[in-house]
């Protein structure tokens, strides 16, 4: 499957995403952010990184890149869009996903492997995964603190838009298992319609045993199925 990986100035997980897509037998196509054609791709992935340096607010400038109008239209037509880390931040800033990613509660960048619990099965990212399944995935970010007003959070809960929450190895939620202070421990969400998804953890970094984590494969395979 032809998958577009958007390259913003400052994206730095674009090559990693392309590598993982190839590993899973797909055809990544790097799309420069100034382009306005999606070149017939069937899926779009916004990779991690520091678009525009994230000097203003993570993702706040990238949403204005020329290609984002096309990505919006693609999503409006029901096209599947995945945002990872900075890509998730961009989708939130673009209003394609609810909420916003604020600075980590620790005020520090954090790079480690965390556990997340699948909250909603049968989403674009969790096809074939039962709710309650615990996955181990890498995170690496300074702005992963998912933030939304209470009414918005309640609405997400009701409509099953929360895909993942940070948890411990046993799947229990706790302050110690939440690496960034995210509200209600949210690690990933989907749009109302379900075709736009975003998460802070990096599934593309968890596709090979050699690198110490393989639980990302199931998520990417779901996105690509």
């Amino acid at each position: 499957m032809k998958v577009g990986v958007v390259v913003f100035p400052g994206s730095n997980c674009d090559h990693d995403a392309a590598h993982a897509l190839e590993l899973l037998g797909h055809e990544p196509l790097l799309l420069w952010h100034k382009e306005t054609s999606l070149q017939g791709v069937e899926r779009i992935l916004l990779p991690g990184g520091f678009s525009y340096g994230d000097y203003l607010r993570a993702g706040a400038l990238a949403r204005f890149s020329p290609i984002m109008a096309e990505v919006g239209r693609f999503a409006d037509r029901g096209g599947p869009v995945l945002g990872i880390c900075n890509g998730f931040q961009i989708l939130c800033e673009a209003g394609m996903l609810p909420g916003v990613l604020a600075r980590n509660a620790s005020l520090r960048f954090v790079c480690k492997h965390v556990h997340v619990r699948v909250e909603a099965g049968e989403s674009l990212l969790t096809r074939g995964l039962r709710p309650g399944t615990v996955l181990r995935l890498p995170i690496a970010h300074a702005d992963g603190n998912y933030t939304l007003d209470d009414a918005g959070l309640d609405a997400l809960e009701r409509s099953g838009q929360i895909l993942f929450r940070y948890c411990d190895e046993e799947g229990q939620l706790s302050a110690g298992a939440n690496p960034n202070g995210a509200m209600r421990a949210i690690a990933g969400v989907r749009s109302e319609r379900g075709n736009v998804v975003g998460l802070m953890p990096h599934p593309e970094r968890a596709c090979e045993g050699l690198l110490g984590a393989t639980d990302g494969r199931a998520l990417l395979e779901s996105f690509l199925s």
């Binding site: 100035p9 400052g10 340096g53 994230d54 954090v110 790079c111 300074a142």
Partner: protein
């Protein structure tokens, strides 16, 4: 030539030139310089750029080998790794700026070393950092630690180059002068190496990257002077880093390097446009003409002096093939970067500078580069050396061994550095096979099985007591670290951090350390392919501990066969590769150890290093790891065998105990913590016992079975038994003790 008012002696002194050096400037020009020319001479002849005190000594280092493609003198060294690929790497200091402004100082240190590597045509794949701070209890220490780590992380994370390891140590000798040594390695095709050379008269000179501002003017001169009470006023000489622009510059340069439009390329690092243009012309045996009005500036009314001496970051100078300017422009415009045609290569052998239609400077290249002053400075051992080398370990007050072990694990130099590396993205680029926390990192090279082992280190206290022996230890230890992940060393880079070379004792340290590096590199057959010298690391006349830091790059043919540093499986055999103590009955060596530092002043001699034994131990370890015979391998360094065993129990995600028996000579609270070299703690499946013994014997390395993995305690028969939860708490808590303290600027 533009004339100005005559240069007075105060101006000369302010430029860091001695009266004799100024006379040489006049002789080189055949006249008095103007202020711009004086500024250019001053930075090119600064210690930082000219290596005037160290150059003679460095000539004795082994720099060649069958894999070496580019040795010292270029932006980075290049070593072949097979399959048509090579690695470019270097380590560089950013000590002075980091002490003045830790976040930006450290960040721009990372930015500079990254540019040095991608200038060669290599894509940076991993970084390491060797850091030294003052005493953990010094009021400024937490501020410096926080700032330096934030600076390194902020730059490396944003640009997307993983920071995979390094070394952090504390000693009061660094109270007034921290060390920040940044290392980066990149991968390139061996037939696509780019050099910093200006050649071909008529070829255009292009300026690319960020605009030039007034930041960092005379940074190289600052880095070539001691600190005193006016240090705080030097803050404006520190540059501000912009990793976003550097990321664009990196991608644009690598894209341009796909073509053959580039003749030469160089980073504008220390001494900015001056050093890049002069060094490129020097290496290419050419001249350069620069039109300074065309240099993109970000401030109004900048003078030629400011433009030439600015150290604004994220800039490069490119000599392109004539007629290919448009290609260069197209690529840099795509990445929204400045690109300007600022001059051309000439055959005059001179640097000719024009501004506002006037010739504002004209300097011969030769005297600025190869003709820079070269000093054979007087040197002698400190008069109290013999006195300081006398030390009887028995004078240290006796404490229970368990108490000593817990106290050592909590010392910040030994304690877990997780607080540091959690703030570094160490996984981006999908290379991290062995991630931070162990002895060495192992990074997979994209597209195959080959991996790079990486390690940086130096025991500064050993070097203070005996710089030659200390430097030998530094090389041996980083290579031993590589051996624990199965990597064979293929090249080394050094970063020589010392005090004021005008003092004969410091010059002696430098000379001895360079001799020591040479000894060890020859014995272990590993060339030094790049390096950096940082002198004048002194505050108010007190020098740092001499620190000839080294970083080693090793090769692993198949990343999938690796070992971790920690015990993994109950029932595994615990064994020591190497001898537990050099002397089975005599007193242990404790000079320069953490055990000694815990109890009193630095005295004695570092433990002796037998390089033949070292080599045997390393080769045996490489063979064992590569054959998949061992489950873990961990080097004994700070804190000795006692600390190494405890670390093996608590470093992994699953803590696990061990029961061992050791032939401890004399007091266990001393012997367990002596920091003798050439020792690696192994664990392996008992079914592999025979094969392990055979491999060790084949390489002539001693192997001693100590006991087995398992249980909830570390037990050393007849000596100590401590719950692993206690070991873990001490080891994980030690660093947090430092950064949790209130800080003062």
């Amino acid at each position: 030539m533009k004339r100005e008012q005559p240069i007075d002696s105060a101006t000369i002194a302010r430029h860091g030139l001695t009266p004799e050096e100024y006379s040489r400037v006049e002789a080189a020009l055949g006249r008095a310089p103007n202020l711009l020319e004086l500024g250019i001479f001053s930075v090119m002849w600064s210690e930082h750029c000219s290596y005037k005190s160290s150059r003679k000594l460095l000539r004795g280092l082994p720099t060649s080998g069958p894999r070496v493609l580019v040795g010292p003198g270029e932006n980075a060294g290049v070593v072949e790794i097979g399959d048509g690929l090579a690695v470019a790497f270097k380590m560089e200091s950013h000590n002075h700026p980091s002490y003045i402004e830790p976040t930006q100082g450290a960040a721009t240190g990372v930015g500079g070393i990254l540019r040095d590597v991608f200038t060669m045509g290599a894509r940076p794949v991993a970084s390491l950092d060797l850091l030294r701070f003052g005493d953990p209890s010094h009021p400024k220490t937490p501020f410096l630690v926080e700032g330096v780590v934030a600076g390194i992380g902020g730059y490396g994370n944003a640009i997307g180059v993983p920071t995979v390891g390094g070394e952090v140590a504390f000693d009061h000798a660094f109270d007034g002068n921290c060390l920040v040594n940044a290392f980066t390695v990149g991968v390139l095709r061996k037939d696509k190496i780019f050099l910093g050379r200006a050649a071909g008269p008529g070829n255009p000179v292009l300026y690319v990257g960020a605009r030039t501002g007034r930041d960092g003017i005379h940074g190289a001169t600052m880095a070539s002077a001691e600190f005193d009470e006016t240090t705080e006023e030097k803050r404006p000489t520190v540059q501000v880093g912009d990793p976003f622009t550097e990321k664009l510059l990196l991608e644009a340069c690598l894209e341009l390097m796909q073509s053959d439009a580039i003749v030469g390329i160089q980073d504008m690092g220390a001494a900015g446009l001056t050093s890049s243009s002069v060094e490129m012309a020097g290496r290419g045996g050419a001249g350069l003409r620069l039109d300074l009005d065309r240099v993109p500036v970000r401030e109004e009314r900048m003078t030629p002096y400011e433009i030439m001496l600015s150290e604004s970051q994220e800039r490069m100078l490119i000599v392109a093939a004539k007629g290919r300017e448009a290609e260069v422009e197209r690529i840099f415009r795509k990445w929204d970067l400045e690109v300007a045609l600022v001059g051309e290569v000439t055959s005059t052998g001179k640097l000719e500078l024009f501004f506002g239609g006037e010739r504002v400077g004209e300097l011969p290249i030769g005297p600025l580069t190869d003709g820079a002053p070269l000093y054979d400075r007087p040197r002698h051992a400190p008069s109290d050396l013999a006195e300081r080398q006398r030390f009887d370990p028995a004078t240290l007050p006796e404490i229970p061994a368990a108490e000593a072990l817990l106290a050592l694990l909590r010392r910040p130099t030994i304690a877990s550095k997780e607080w540091v590396y959690r703030q570094y993205d160490h996984e981006v680029r999908l290379g991290g096979v062995v991630r931070p926390g162990g002895d060495a990192a192992l990074v997979r090279v994209e597209g195959g099985k080959v991996g790079l082992g990486l390690s940086a280190g130096c025991n500064s206290r050993f070097c203070e007591l005996d710089p030659r022996e200390g430097a030998r230890h530094a090389v041996a230890e980083v290579c031993r670290n590589l051996a624990t992940v199965g990597a064979e060393p293929i090249g080394l880079t050094d970063c020589l951090n010392f005090g004021n070379p005008e003092r004969p004792e410091i010059m002696w340290q430098l000379e001895q350390a360079v001799l020591g590096l040479g000894d060890a590199c020859r014995a272990l057959e590993v060339p030094i392919v790049s390096g950096n010298v940082s002198l004048y690391n002194e505050t108010d006349g007190r020098a740092i501990l001499p620190t000839p830091a080294v970083a080693a790059v090793g090769l692993v043919s198949d990343c999938a066969t690796g070992a971790h540093s920690w015990f993994a499986s109950a029932g595994d055999v615990v064994a020591l590769l190497g001898e537990p103590w050099r002397s089975p009955s005599g007193p242990p060596e404790l000079g320069g150890s953490e055990r000694q530092a815990m109890a009193g002043p630095l005295r004695g001699k570092p433990p002796p290093l037998d390089l033949a034994r070292e080599r045997a131990v390393q080769r045996a370890c490489v063979a064992l790891v590569r054959a998949g015979l061992v489950r873990s391998a961990h080097d004994c360094s700070e804190g000795g065998l006692g600390v190494a065993l405890a670390e093996c129990c608590v470093m992994g995600e699953r803590r696990i105990g061990a029961r061992v028996a050791l032939p401890v000579p004399g007091r266990p609270d001393l012997a367990l913590f002596s920091e003798e070299p050439s020792r690696i703690v192994l664990s392996f499946d008992p079914a592999r016992r025979g094969e392990v013994a055979r491999v060790a014997a084949d390489h002539g390395a001693p192997l001693l079975e100590l006991g087995e993995v398992g249980g909830e305690r570390l037990e050393i028969a007849g000596v100590l038994a401590v719950e692993i939860s206690k070991l873990d708490a001490a080891w994980r808590g030690g660093f947090l003790d430092v950064v949790a303290r209130p800080t003062a600027i």
